[in-house]
């Protein structure tokens, strides 16, 4: 089948184009010198939990496996969701277009017979694969490492107790965080010359979430993600704890499609913006 024949079948053409852009983009998203700090974000918790397991295995344990689970739940909600995945996605997704502007290579895509929407979706998918590999991988390894020193007890918990289901929910929540934050940061990367300013606004908004009224809480990614965590919300501590408001968590059947729909809408907006994007490297 020749190119002109393929071109008459839009879905086949788009599929081929997405695959070829993914091949080019994945290399950049997964193995980029620019991404060194993302490697630190992902490796950090793996190293800490690995070290914890290593040391706890050698010295007398002063804690229970339940406490390890609670520590991981806190690490997941506070570190992964609020910091690691947030900033990792910021780095990966806002650079999908922006880094190419800085490197003056975006025009090669813009000079290909590809719908800008297809380009935006392909780049998003490449970023998503990279983010999921990094962060879901980090979550899974950290979960396994934090309790690995319990040996057969942990194996029992993992394979014959609720452990595997919990791990599944953590992995799903991390993946959905990448989906949600990814779409937001792709949009800011396309819309703003300096995506750091909108990113700071999103960051403040997401972290204000515990203190927002119930209605406003629902206009954030973190609210739905917390609802999906297998271990309940970690109580807000510190001097401002009294300002925190408690809201009924959203059920998973609503939180998952809700997050996916909102992400799809944001992605559609980013694709529409990409269609109007100009190549103006000197700016």
């Amino acid at each position: 089948m020749t190119w002109s024949q393929i071109a008459t079948q839009p879905w086949m053409l788009w599929r081929r184009q997405v695959a070829s852009i993914l091949r080019l983009e994945l290399k950049k998203s997964l193995f980029s010198k620019r991404a060194w700090w993302i490697y630190i974000l992902t490796l950090g918790p793996v190293l800490i939990t690995g070290l914890h397991s290593l040391l706890s295995g050698r010295i007398e344990r002063g804690h229970t496996m339940g406490e390890d689970n609670m520590i991981f739940a806190g690490m997941f909600q506070v570190y992964f969701l609020r910091l690691g995945i947030f900033f990792g996605c910021l780095g990966i997704f806002s650079n999908l277009f922006r880094a190419e502007v800085l490197e003056r290579t975006l025009h090669y895509y813009f000079m290909s017979p590809v719908r800008r929407e297809v380009l935006a979706v392909s780049k998003y998918l490449a970023g998503l694969i990279a983010a999921v590999v990094y962060f879901v991988g980090s979550v899974v390894l950290s979960f396994l490492f934090i309790s690995a020193h319990w040996g057969p007890v942990f194996q029992q918990y993992l394979f014959h107790g609720p452990g595997l289901a919990q791990l599944g929910w953590y992995a799903l929540t991390a993946a959905l965080a990448c989906v949600g934050y990814g779409s937001v940061f792709l949009l800011t990367g396309v819309m703003f010359r300096n995506p750091m300013i909108p990113a700071a606004v999103v960051f403040v908004w997401e972290n204000l979430n515990p203190f927002l009224p119930s209605v406003l809480k629902k206009f954030s990614v973190i609210f739905y993600l917390k609802s999906l965590c297998p271990v309940g919300e970690i109580p807000t501590e510190g001097p401002l704890a009294f300002l925190a408001t408690m809201t009924e968590p959203t059920p998973a059947w609503l939180a998952i499609p809700g997050l996916l729909i909102v992400s799809a809408l944001v992605l559609a907006l980013a694709a529409a913006k990409a269609r109007k994007l100009e190549v103006s490297y000197s700016d």
């Binding site: 020749t2 393929i6 071109a7 081929r16 000079m111």
Partner: protein
């Protein structure tokens, strides 16, 4: 602005060219904030080689980027063979653009660079591989194809960009300073390639600072200054429309003094200067057609032996100097 017929227009045998699809700019302006890129551009570019000529900042690259949809007009509309540049998915099946940007995606060899972007077009692997090989051969880069682009010289980078632009066999080829960095041999080969594209009836739009090369390759020129099109058309036609500058005609003959004395009897002859070797005459006239008729008569009446008669200033360089001057430092 001097508007002139293009190649093949009106009564020429190739009048059919006029009906061929064109690249049309309709009252196009582009501003960068307060800064003018191009203003009120109206063009209808036929197939063949069209050169954009003008000093730095005159709007050549802006015009090319507008044509390719990399930037959008602030006003007006553009149409490339019936396709608006807002539809890159259709436009770039027909267009190849070799930009001035000297940057490449990291970590790719020359072959991978061309091949990968042909796959982005949606081509199947075997077709992309065949076209990549063909494009590399056309720019004489086959041997260096497996080396990383980052290790290429400036001239090689220029050629690999050109290969990438022509690989999918576009009918419109837009080339921003394509001869930059090429050695003389590569320049000649590249010009021959453009000539071949032009002769095949494709649109080749070239910007260049090197006016004698523009002269060699162009079917028509578009002269730009400060964002405005100051002249367009075949260079000889453009020259003849520059009425305020007398035409210069070189006559090689055996009795230049006699010829000069006869020519000076005419009002339209402004100057006649005998060559240093005493075997020719440079005449400046406001009416070239009349001069040619008069020359015939003088030759017959006085038995002059004329070796050659040729216009001396109907090249791009002269037209450029007359219309734009030396402001842009173009060579």
């Amino acid at each position: 602005m001097t508007e002139l017929p293009y190649v093949g227009q009106a009564s020429t045998p190739a009048a059919g060219l006029q009906t061929r699809p064109r690249i049309v700019f309709d009252n196009v302006s582009r501003f960068y904030g307060e800064v003018l890129g191009v203003n009120r551009v109206n063009l209808s570019i036929p197939p063949g080689i069209t050169s954009l000529v003008g000093p730095n900042g005159s709007g050549k690259t802006t015009l090319m980027n507008l044509m390719a949809g990399l930037i959008r007009p602030s006003r007006g509309t553009i149409n490339v063979l019936g396709i608006p540049p807002t539809r890159p998915e259709e436009l770039f099946r027909k267009m190849g653009y070799c930009t001035q940007f000297d940057a490449f995606p990291k970590g790719l060899t020359g072959y991978q660079f061309i091949y990968s972007f042909l796959l982005v077009h949606g081509m199947i692997e075997s077709e992309a591989a065949r076209l990549t090989g063909e494009a590399l051969q056309r720019v004489a880069m086959t041997e260096a194809a497996d080396r990383p682009v980052a290790a290429y010289s400036k001239g090689m980078r220029q050629r690999i960009k050109l290969a990438q632009a022509i690989a999918h066999r576009p009918t419109v080829l837009v080339l921003d300073e394509p001869l930059n960095g090429l050695d003389p041999m590569a320049r000649n080969e590249t010009i021959a390639l453009f000539r071949q594209f032009g002769d095949e009836g494709r649109h080749v739009i070239v910007s260049s600072h090197i006016l004698h090369e523009v002269d060699r390759i162009s079917d028509q020129v578009i002269l730009l200054s400060h964002g405005y099109v100051v002249a367009e058309g075949q260079i000889q036609g453009v020259r003849s429309e520059v009425k305020d500058q007398p035409m210069q005609i070189l006559v090689r003959c055996d009795k230049p003094g006699l010829l000069a004395s006869r020519l000076f009897e005419q009002d339209h002859v402004v100057e006649a200067k005998v060559n240093e070797d005493g075997k020719g005459l440079l005449v400046r006239t406001r009416d070239a057609d009349n001069l040619y008729l008069l020359l015939n008569r003088i030759v017959l009446d006085n038995g002059l032996e004329v070796e050659a008669v040729a216009p001396a200033d109907d090249d791009v360089n002269s037209v450029y100097q007359y219309l734009i001057g030396a402001e842009g430092g173009t060579t």
